[in-house]
């Protein structure tokens, strides 16, 4: 069960929303998009000050000791604003990997910095084929002179260019293993042009970089499986926020835009489009909520492994559909670079494909129900 009441989560939501309204309006978001880092460090510091970065980290590791349900509140708001922050890469992917590793020493060393917002971290799993997997990596880690050296290329690494801490999945003679790699010799980062302008990615080239194992040697597979479930849950909340924002933008525009002498929202063709968007948003919200509560061990919910896979499928579809419809309701103006609608379209497609895309989600979901 979650450790907070609905009222407390509403308070949290209000705080994050107010902060984003202040620090991440359309203009600020554009500045962040065009900046070298790809995000606004002041916003990040304020999110950390609010406690957003520490919510789902246990209190003995400098966190607030809450869970996925509370983190989902923050993610929904970040998704609604498409706030370019390192939250997903650092607080979701990297922190989940550290927590799933069961490596108390690494957790004590690395999680407090994430909780405080002072460490930016990135999880480097994917290689040239773009596939999220837990084994058979081309990247290699070998021991020499008592230290681990990593070689290989990781790509589509979220926040890979700005991260202080890289968590890299690489094969060893004893199987796939996760390594913490700090900035240093043998680490080269290449920022990438991205479909999603509000979420940066990089290629990390490792040539004999020093790494410290996180978790047991050969244990990356189960760690990355656990990360994936957490990440799908978090992404679902973010997608729900984005889908709702698209619905709200469409409804607002349909109420004010006048053609043929009346607001276009009075035409059923537009009204029904908005009603369909609403249906998809409500469904996404239910799926995301189920996954978050299930992640936190609420026994009255669906099994977590099923709920997070359902949420990833439903919320990916919902975010994509509402982003496309939002552009359509706006007409030509929605197709312009200046309008924010395309940012949601970009994020929706990028999130849908991040962990493999619908064909992969569907098989994953079936495997979760024993098929």
């Amino acid at each position: 069960m979650s450790g907070t009441s609905v009222e407390e989560r509403d308070d949290l939501r209000r705080s994050v929303r107010e902060l984003l309204a202040r620090r991440c309006d359309d203009a600020a978001r554009r500045v962040a998009i065009d900046s070298e880092q790809g995000h606004d460090p002041h916003l990040w510091a304020q999110l950390a000050e609010l406690g957003a970065t520490s919510l789902a980290i246990p209190d003995e590791l400098s966190g607030a000791g809450y869970g996925a349900v509370e983190q989902a509140v923050v993610l929904e708001e970040l998704g609604a604003r498409l706030a370019p922050t390192p939250f997903f890469g650092t607080v979701v992917l990297a922190a989940s990997a550290l927590l799933a590793s069961g490596d108390l020493e690494a957790q004590k060393r690395l999680l407090p910095g994430i909780a405080e917002g002072t460490t930016l971290a990135a999880l480097a799993v994917v290689e040239a084929d773009g596939i999220w997997k837990g084994k058979n990596f081309a990247a290699r880690a070998d021991q020499s002179d008592g230290s681990w050296r990593l070689t290989g290329e990781k790509t589509l690494v979220i926040d890979g260019a700005v991260a202080d801490l890289l968590l890299v999945a690489a094969d060893t003679d004893a199987g796939p293993t996760l390594f913490a790699v700090a900035e240093g010799p043998g680490v080269a980062r290449t920022p990438l042009r991205t479909l999603d302008l509000t979420r940066r990615m990089a290629t990390i080239t490792l040539s004999g970089a020093t790494g410290t194992p996180v978790g047991s040697i050969g244990a990356a597979g189960p760690i990355l499986d656990a990360v994936l479930d957490r990440a799908m849950t978090a992404l679902a909340a973010e997608q729900t926020g984005a889908a709702r924002a698209c619905l709200q933008a469409s409804v607002a525009y349909a109420r004010e835009r006048v053609q043929f002498g009346r607001p276009i929202g009075s035409f059923q063709a537009v009204k029904h489009r908005c009603a369909d968007m609403f249906t998809r948003v409500e469904l996404a919200a239910a799926a995301a909520d189920e996954a978050a509560h299930a992640a936190d061990g609420d026994e009255d919910r669906a099994p977590f492994q099923v709920a997070c896979a359902v949420a990833h499928t439903v919320c990916s579809e919902s975010a994509m559909a509402t982003a496309a419809e939002n552009i359509h309701v706006h007409g030509g103006i929605g197709f312009t670079w200046e309008h924010s609608a395309h940012l949601y379209f970009r994020r929706a497609k990028a999130s849908q494909l991040l962990f493999g895309g619908p064909a992969v989600h569907h098989e994953r979901l079936l495997s979760r129900v024993g098929l």
């Binding site: 450790g3 907070t4 009441s5 009222e7 407390e8 619905l247 409804v251 349909a254 109420r255 009346r262 607001p263 929202g265 009075s266 035409f267 059923q268 537009v270 009204k271 029904h272 908005c274 009603a275 369909d276 609403f278 249906t279 409500e282 469904l283 996404a284 239910a286 799926a287 909520d289 189920e290 009255d300 669906a302 099923v306 709920a307 896979a309 359902v310 949420a311 499928t313 439903v314 579809e317 619908p358 064909a359 989600h361 569907h362 098989e363 979901l365 079936l366 129900v369 098929l371």
Partner: protein
């Protein structure tokens, strides 16, 4: 965080503990009177009757027997105090909120009990509350206890050939004659008319007023002379609903409901009580047929469980079904905790129609040409009954299009379509077939 459970705080009014007690009472009643439905994890293909029903196409004898079962279960409910949860105690009700009603439905859906839709969907759910709100003391005392004890079945004489989605356009005339009114006209899509004892009819009493302002509501004795019920055969084969022809039917003024020309208010009460059945749709043969275990068994039996195309569609279907189920359960839980019903019911209804329709077409595709004729092979031709019911799911209880108008206007705040039909005298309105 709940810090104190003994002192009610403003955020948790006394309702929550009442609800717990109510749930406990209802559960005790159901445990004592019915069997809990087993959760089905796997389906044995080929076992059991080869029928997938949505609307029945039962023989009249079987249908009549089911009506009797429904009446008996309603009587049992009534005697245990659950026959009319929202009703006032003087008419055998419990005096609780619509939320308690929804919660009870959610509980009862977990048990194998006779389907009481024939009584409850229209009569108890919609017409009872309308009589309560608009009836005279005599009318209320006459109908309400009998209806909720399962003795009197009521139907709704609302829709007409020219008044479907636009219900206020009814043309059935009622003309005053002494202490009676004389009714002439035709009603249509009348469910349960063949079993009903009384019908709530909307009639035109003043054609010179705009359409909403010249309607009067009457309680019509379905056995009165001049009431002719003709079954309407549905495309799925059965004849569950009817046309009702009213020819010089005399209704005493004492059976008028509400004011003369005030019938639209009465109708709104009825429509407002069209129940949000959040969470109770998981039961029944249609839901079972498109459930994951059933569709999996279908794929397995047809050697398609490894077919990537079939798997993909199965996953899509299951994801939407599961999310709809989560939505229903979450809505029900919010109600239990003292929340108010939201727009979930509309979303749930739209998704329910979509899930069943897509699931059924998927099954039909897997069955393939064997759907075309009854060769006696189990689980093939029998899908037709459900398949041929699916178009109705987007029409009945308010078409999908009207539902989307309501969502757009009432939930999202989009403007209504401009029109003059609400201000023009009824007799000057264009009707289907007339010239513009």
């Amino acid at each position: 965080m709940r810090t104190d459970v003994t002192i009610p705080s403003p955020a948790h009014p006394a309702g929550a503990s009442d609800m717990d007690a109510f749930i406990a009472r209802a559960t005790r009643f159901l445990e004592a009177s019915a069997t809990r439905r087993a959760v089905e994890h796997a389906v044995e293909w080929g076992a059991g009757p080869d029928r997938i029903t949505y609307f029945g196409d039962d023989s009249h004898e079987v249908a009549a027997a089911k009506v009797e079962q429904a009446r008996a279960w309603q009587k049992t409910r009534y005697e245990a105090g659950f026959g009319w949860i929202t009703g006032p105690p003087e008419f055998g009700g419990l005096g609780l909120t619509p939320v308690h009603d929804l919660v009870y439905d959610g509980l009862e859906a977990q048990y194998d009990v006779p389907d009481t839709a024939v009584l409850s969907l229209i009569g108890l759910g919609m017409i009872g509350p309308t009589i309560l709100a608009h009836g005279t003391e005599e009318t209320r005392a006459h109908f309400l206890p009998r209806m909720y004890a399962g003795e009197v079945i009521a139907c709704q004489l609302f829709s007409e050939p020219s008044a479907g989605s636009d219900l206020a356009n009814v043309s059935t005339r009622a003309v005053r004659d002494g202490d009676d009114w004389v009714l002439n006209g035709q009603k249509v899509w009348t469910s349960v008319a063949q079993h009903a004892h009384v019908g709530l009819a909307l009639c035109r009493t003043n054609p010179d007023q705009p359409k909403h302002k010249g309607i009067t509501a009457f309680l019509v004795d379905m056995s009165a002379p001049g009431v002719e019920i003709r079954p309407l055969r549905q495309m799925s084969g059965g004849d569950e609903f009817n046309e009702v022809f009213l020819t010089d039917v005399r209704v005493p003024d004492a059976r008028r409901l509400g004011d003369v020309d005030g019938g639209w208010r009465v109708a709104l009460t009825t429509l407002m009580n069209e129940r949000a059945s959040v969470g109770s749709e998981g039961a029944g043969p249609a839901a079972r047929a498109i459930s994951l275990p059933f569709l999996t068994a279908l794929l397995k039996a047809n050697g398609r469980l490894d077919d990537p195309v079939a798997r993909r569609r199965l996953a899509e279907l299951y994801a939407d079904q599961a999310a709809t189920e989560y939505l229903n359960r979450q809505a029900l839980n919010r109600l239990r905790e003292g929340g108010q019903p939201g727009p979930e019911a509309s979303v749930s209804k739209l998704m329910y129609a979509q899930n069943i329709t897509r699931g059924t077409h998927f099954a039909a595709e897997v069955v393939g040409p064997r759907l075309l004729a009854d060769t006696g092979q189990w689980g093939t031709f029998s899908w037709n009954e459900l398949l041929l019911s699916t178009p109705a799911l987007r029409i009945l209880g308010g078409t999908e299009d009207i539902m989307k108008n309501i969502l757009g206007e009432r939930v999202l705040g989009l403007p209504k379509e401009p029109s003059t039909d609400a201000t023009t005298p009824y007799r000057d309105l264009r009707t289907s077939g007339s010239q513009a």
